[in-house]
Amino acid sequence: MPVEVVTGAFDPAAKQQAFEATLTPGTFGATANFIGTMRTVNEGDDVVGMYLEHYPGMTETELQKIIADAAQQWRIIDALIVHRVGELEPGEPIVLTTVWSKHRKDAFEAVRYLMEALKSRAPFWKKETLANGDTRWVEKNTPGY
């Protein structure tokens, strides 16, 4: 159940497929994923760039704990989290979470849990660059439930 913090642009589909290739075909009937993408507008302002800071060491540890918590609560075959850090451009993927399970209920609920837990517990911080050149730290996430 790997977690990965990446500094360059990444292709969520390629990451998911590469990891899925290590699973036994036919064991999982359900794959649910979520991709978070950088938007060009946030809180009414045009956003032209983003810097994502993290806490090396703690971030990876926390992501692993989140997956372990999900595996306690749902019957999952495997799970993957990839999160971008550093400088991003609009339209680029920020995060990928994927869960493989036998049945869909577990995959749906676990993948949503991964995202909510990640957004409240995994140390990442977004700093936006606006169209006028100003920068600002994002102060809070939008609610997920």
Binding site: H54, Y55, M58, E62, S120, F124, K126, W137, E139
Partner: protein
């Protein structure tokens, strides 16, 4: 080996002169690490803290060799 202190994101920008090491003799809890490192008189309510890469409350005890971090609310994902 002293307590290592880290600040992230806006906190790191807002507290450029904060100390990155304090001695356990100066600070027995996370909260006291904050006061010793920042020389501030209070600790904002929204501050999140960790000890050795694990989320902790501000009253958590600390000892020499620990890594204590302070950061604003998380905004990843």
């Amino acid at each position: 080996m002293p307590i290592q202190v880290k600040f992230f994101a806006s906190l790191k920008e807002d507290l450029p002169n904060a100390r990155q090491q304090v001695e356990a003799s100066e600070a027995a809890t996370v909260e006291e690490v904050w006061y010793a490192a920042t020389q501030l008189k209070d600790i904002p309510a929204h501050i999140v803290c960790s000890v050795n890469h694990s989320h902790e409350q501000i009253h958590q005890a600390v000892k020499d060799g620990d890594e204590v971090a302070f950061f604003p609310p998380i905004t990843g994902g």
